[in-house]
Symmetry: C2
Subunit: 354 residues, 2 copies
């Protein structure tokens, strides 16, 4: 029995993607070689890389608009420093909405001056700040679209004339947005895209080449772009599996189709949190994340019972992050509505027992 996997990341992936990825480890492309054993310069793998790069732009509606996609290594944590190293010349504006924004700010500050335009830190990041100015003489504005730990999500993005950079690690491909409002989008694969080990970076090329520092090759977006995301051996398995997940999403109907499913799941989940007197949501209602619902159980005495109930039902990964406590139901693209129904039923059953 496959579990109901509410893990925050690495997390649930589509079963058909796992099936194909598993097969490719033994025999890729019907060529009697494993995907792991072939040269990354061979045509079959170059085709995978090119297809993955094209699918990312296609799903985001960014084809033919001056954007390029890269599949790099090092996670979003490496993007925290690469963004600054490639774009920060004097001063940059950052919005602080949680642990990941905070880390992005810390890493960028190694390179130059960072201006934190707003922060919800004093409220333990339970909301998204909305009133702030972005000075036009700054190099770029950086924000985090979804905060896995606190369960908040930016519903709107500020209009600004300077480049808009967004960490979409935990909600990429999950909702319809005008992605052309962003100049650089990055996302670690291990939520809606694939296994840990690769990071999607989508860049509007014209924002590059404006800093004066020397950049080591592996940290230079221009180097990776000039080599078609193959400057060195790419993480072949992670890129291939990400490509499979993007194909799966495209076949489902793309972001528009999955957004509907994600809204159904989130509506069901938050309705239960709000209507069930045993539970309380953590984040401000207008900023609630459709990916990660954070909530607490009001009566600690029921904790053991509740934990046993969801574990017995085959639910995995429901414990909240230590910064928030309580529970966190992560509902990424590949989690089925049925899994949410199972959890909501248990919450409701707990209420009738209590």
């Amino acid at each position: 029995m496959k579990k109901h996997n509410f893990s925050a990341g690495p997390c649930v992936l589509p079963q058909e993607v796992l099936q194909k990825a598993s097969e490719a480890v033994l025999n890729f492309n019907n060529d009697n070689l494993s995907l792991l054993e072939i040269s990354h310069r061979s045509k079959p793998f170059v085709d995978v890389m090119e297809k993955a790069r094209a699918l990312a732009l296609e799903l985001l509606g960014l084809e033919g608009k001056g954007y390029k996609a890269l599949f790099l290594q090092g996670g979003a944590s490496t993007q925290f420093l690469m963004v600054a190293q490639n774009l920060l010349e004097k001063r940059a504006a950052y919005l602080n909405t949680g642990t990941w924004s905070d880390k992005a700010i810390k890493e960028a500050a190694i390179f130059d001056d960072i201006h934190e335009v707003a922060s919800s830190k004093s409220a333990n990041f339970n909301y998204i700040p909305k009133e702030y100015d972005i000075p036009e003489d700054h190099d770029y504005f950086h924000c985090t679209s979804n905060n896995t730990i606190f369960g908040t999500q930016m519903k709107k993005f500020p209009k600004t004339k300077i480049p808009l950079v967004c960490d979409m690690s935990s909600d990429i491909f999950s909702r319809v947005l005008d992605f052309s409002q962003f100049d650089l989008i990055y996302a670690g694969a291990q939520k809606n895209m694939g296994p840990a080990g690769t990071t999607l970076v989508v860049i509007k090329e014209d924002i590059l080449g404006k800093v004066s520092r020397k950049i080591p090759s592996m940290l230079d977006y221009k180097v990776h772009l000039s080599k078609g995301s193959m400057f060195n051996t790419p993480p072949v398995f992670a890129v291939y599996t990400s490509m499979l997940t993007m194909e799966w999403l495209k076949n489902l109907g793309g972001i528009k189709a999955i957004e509907k499913e994600n809204e159904k799941k989130a509506t069901l989940m938050y309705s239960e949190i709000d209507l069930n007197p045993l539970f309380k949501g953590y984040s401000a209602k207008e900023d609630r994340s459709n990916m990660n619902a954070t909530f607490t159980l009001l009566n600690d005495d029921l904790k053991e019972t509740f934990d046993t109930m969801w574990q017995d039902a085959g639910i995995n990964g429901l414990n909240g992050h230590r910064s928030v406590g309580g529970y966190r139901a992560s509902m990424y693209n590949a989690l089925s509505l049925d899994s949410v129904k199972v959890l909501v039923e248990i919450m409701s059953e707990l209420e009738s027992k209590a």
Copy 2:
């Protein structure tokens, strides 16, 4: 029919490793979840990471000697810059034995002064320079143990009082060495260790903390060491598969046992190259690599026949790198002696036909 995979990397891996890795993508640890879907903070994965780190030290005979092992992302190309960023304060000594040394020098030079103590570049890297001085006031000495492209391998390493740093990407775990002569060893996984996407770094801890620059977290060995190689989400699949390959090697009898096999393969291969009048070895005999045998076909008219013969026999990846031309037989740990026999027989058959 599985192919005879002479690819230079990514390359052949043990079939039992591929089998287990493929299974883990569907169901890891009999837990009804894919390896790709579980939290990297869960006990099953933390156990994998710790086992991989311990096995690396065990195989190298470095347990209890002040070394720690890390599994990072970004390939050896990222180590080119991390080595300099973490160790280079004023000046460092580099031995230039090929394309990869050359790149390591170029990336390090972004940080500070590099002293190239010797180079075989003018001979298109067909030998390993042996006479050179390593000034004791330099921060470290860097070399590349095996040169995949040119087919040369360092048989001895210089004695020096300064830290000895070695890129062992293409011959790690292949031969018995006193690994305690090195202070930092790094190796991209995709030759003798696992799939592309992770890099082993083995560090003697006491060489760190001696540079004055600020280092971004993801590029700081001390940060990764302090977090047990889990500062951020590691490339779970690549680490797991590397762990499986190290287990396979340990069960075979470790480096000592595989060294014997590698010597048999190399002896057979080079004997044919030397005795068959149709072929000529590329690199200096005393510096020949046991991992990558580079050779040319003296009569171009036979090329089509030879290429058809080895392709028909199910041999893969025999074409030489464009910097050398001709052929390259990469004979990594997981390549069987039988595969070398198949190739050698074809070379011999070509001779009898010609």
